[in-house]
Symmetry: C2
């Protein structure tokens, strides 16, 4: 079978792994094994909308076997990578093991807590569909529980949400939450509105969106404030507790729900890569690679996406970078197969955009930038185009239309109703978080 | 506050409770408290489509607060009823307690196993969204696991599904599964098709759909067979094990997945109703009530829906019956308020319909009946109309169109990926059901 003489194993079916696989699809003589712990690809840029009851999780997930059905040289494997053996050139998983000639590692990133005490235990993170569903269920449960208590017995923190981190995810989620509370929840729980449920955006920066130009940052701060988001900028978080967030300046921000969007670090591959010599973790837990995205000691191993830190560069950990790196690694493999030298990767910045809320967003394209309704429409359009699956696009569009015309978030469901789904530490603290029990006074 | 001088408490927001509440909406002098353990109403007639990867669960759930937002005299409460105190006229929940002048009990039904050994432990049931999601995840996991094994190592039972019970749910689910396997899964897992994944419909009856006329039953049996469903009729189930189903005639049907649709009984209110004198459980665990749906000893307590067994009648435990009974109980309460006598309930049979598969269904309207494409379109239309929420109708329609035109089931997602979600007893038996591990041979 000369058709299958070269095995490429790809770990991770996020943007990096997916685009690498797509580049290698139908290439003669290449067999690709795509390993992921889920049987679907997740469109992470819209994850915050799942966590704010605007989209059903199924709308931003697409089955991997559906994507690669007609690509005969691609096998998808549902498994978790447990170890890489670079000498034997084998990837071990919790299922089978896979031999490779080339390996593309694209496992993505996880939430970074920078050692802030309590942050990992007492805050929600927003990196997987499961986490987004859990956060949505928790938020809605807080309102349901509060509605069963006499108004003066509702703890101050119960209907307060602190979003830590004012990068793209923090801004988008804080904006989405402010709109969720202002309109759909205000109509669902009119009796709770006198308690001033609110969203705080907390960051050590003095303005949100540090990667953007100053006018855009000012616009963002102003729009968020107008939407009711309370900006607590200029003091970093010193500690997270069950009752809220303590700032470095000593101030305490009460919040029953703390969402941590303040940082990411390369997905934990230490354990699986221990056997690989010359692994060097750089900034943000990323693995230092050659400018070609290869490991210096093992040029058959390519690292792409959020985990990758190419020498002399520091591309942003965003979807376009993962897409470009995934495609680049695949192309380098094809070059190497032809006996040619792999090329250095260069991130091509096509621009950045962040939505703030209804009819407002910021778009930066090099030195040009714009805001407002036009920026918002561009944001919607670009996200819809990159979403995988035409059905998913229609479903998302229907939900967006509902939100736009009726100020409605259709997915205000506590589903699955499952004790494991409700909120960790908080369950012990506020009575009734496991199922909406109210304290009988 | 003379506006709130009469309290009606409704337990359960299925069809019965929902229509009772809607009938009492905006009635002056009535305050309604609607208690449910979920914050949404579930459209159960389409549950089997969630369990066969055709619909996202959110498409058939609608938030209760969304339904009753503009009904100022209706309060929705997220809680589980734990006890009824008929002397004090109080409903106790796992949260607060609620005093009533009138009580409508509409808790629905649960799966009945008729004491068949192993049935409860080793089979999946199909009564809640959580169960439907768990079943879908389990089915897809079986295929993913099998795809990691060498063909000759896949246990015979692994890709076999036994649906026990040939009533409407059993027929609809068996048909949906046959189509799921025949087209979307055959394209996802071409390598597994030589193992003949298959669906068996098991029942002691000699033909499916015992409530329908003979020609419709023959048509159904013939259509199911044509779709690849193996009919194992004429012998009831004697035992369910991890490996399959043992029939009363001694035959063993291997099936790693057993779905129990063979019966329902009134939801367990024994515990909560122990204090109520004169409670008499009739056929199918239903509570015997007066022809007016009232409890004989407590005429302020009305029992509607699947739990209700009106004297001298035995209406079918279906959605139209619950809707009619819910509305009827509400109207009786309004009559009683006016000092008039409550009326006896009479079930109005508007007809029954069951879908079998693409372009085929059976519809029975009194003595008239029809089958085929027209019946199927009528079925689609009626279900779409009764579904609550215009957005949900669009989402369902999009999914149906996808299925019809592309033979595609979009929700082939193992989500949430959660150990508690995978399959009870089966997890211990087939290695790797907790996460798709494959046995390394």
């Amino acid at each position: 079978m000369s058709e299958k003489n070269r095995n490429v194993v790809i770990v991770g079916a996020g943007f990096g792994g997916l685009f690498a696989a797509q580049r290698l699809a139908r290439v003669r003589g290449m067999h690709v094994t795509l390993i992921d712990k889920n049987n679907y690809h997740t469109f992470l840029p819209l994850l915050y909308q799942v966590a704010s009851a605007g989209l059903e999780p199924e709308a931003i997930a697409y089955p991997l076997r559906g994507i690669f059905r007609r690509r005969r040289n691609i096998t998808t494997v549902l498994a978790e990578c447990t170890a890489v053996d670079p000498d034997q050139r084998i990837v071990h998983t919790d299922g089978l093991s896979y031999a490779y000639d080339y390996l593309i590692l694209a496992p993505g990133s996880k939430t970074a807590y920078y050692g802030v005490p309590g942050a990992e235990e007492h805050s929600y993170s927003l990196k997987t569909l499961e986490e987004a569903i859990r956060l949505r269920n928790h938020l809605l449960s807080c309102f349901e529980m509060a509605s069963l208590m006499p108004g003066n017995k509702v703890p101050e923190a119960m209907l307060r949400i602190a979003v830590v981190g004012s990068g793209a995810t923090g801004v988008e989620y804080a904006g989405a939450l402010a709109e969720l509370i202002r309109s759909p929840l205000a109509r669902d729980f009119p009796e709770l509105m006198s308690l001033n449920p609110s969203v705080m955006l907390v960051d050590g920066q003095d303005k949100p969106l540090s990667a953007f130009s100053d006018p855009l940052r000012d616009y963002t701060a102003q729009r968020l404030a107008a939407m009711g988001v309370k900006l607590r900028m200029g003091s970093a978080v010193a500690e997270v507790t069950c009752e809220g967030v303590r700032l470095k300046n000593g101030e305490f921000v009460p919040a029953h729900t703390v969402v941590w969007t303040a940082g990411i670090r390369g997905e934990d591959l230490e354990q699986s890569l221990t056997a690989v010599p010359g692994i060097h973790l750089g900034r943000g837990g990323r693995i230092q690679v050659q400018p070609t995205l290869q490991l210096a000691m093992h040029p058959e191993i390519h690292i792409v996406g959020d985990l990758s830190l190419p020498e002399f560069q520091s591309p942003p950990q965003v979807a376009p970078n993962a897409i470009q790196q995934g495609t680049h690694a695949a192309e380098n493999i094809l070059l190497m197969e032809k006996g040619r030298a792999p090329r250095a990767f260069a991130y091509h910045d096509k621009g950045s955009m962040v939505t703030i809320g209804r009819s407002s967003a910021v778009v930066q394209l090099g030195k040009r930038s714009f805001t407002g309704f036009l920026a918002w429409v561009v944001w919607l359009f670009v996200h819809l185009m990159y979403l995988i699956g035409f059905r998913n696009r229609i479903i998302v569009l229907v939900n967006w239309a509902w939100d736009y015309f009726f100020s409605e978030r259709a997915v205000r469901l506590i589903l699955p109703r499952d004790k494991s789904v409700t909120c960790g530490c908080m369950a012990q603290d506020i009575p009734g978080t496991e199922g909406p029990k109210a304290k009988t006074p």
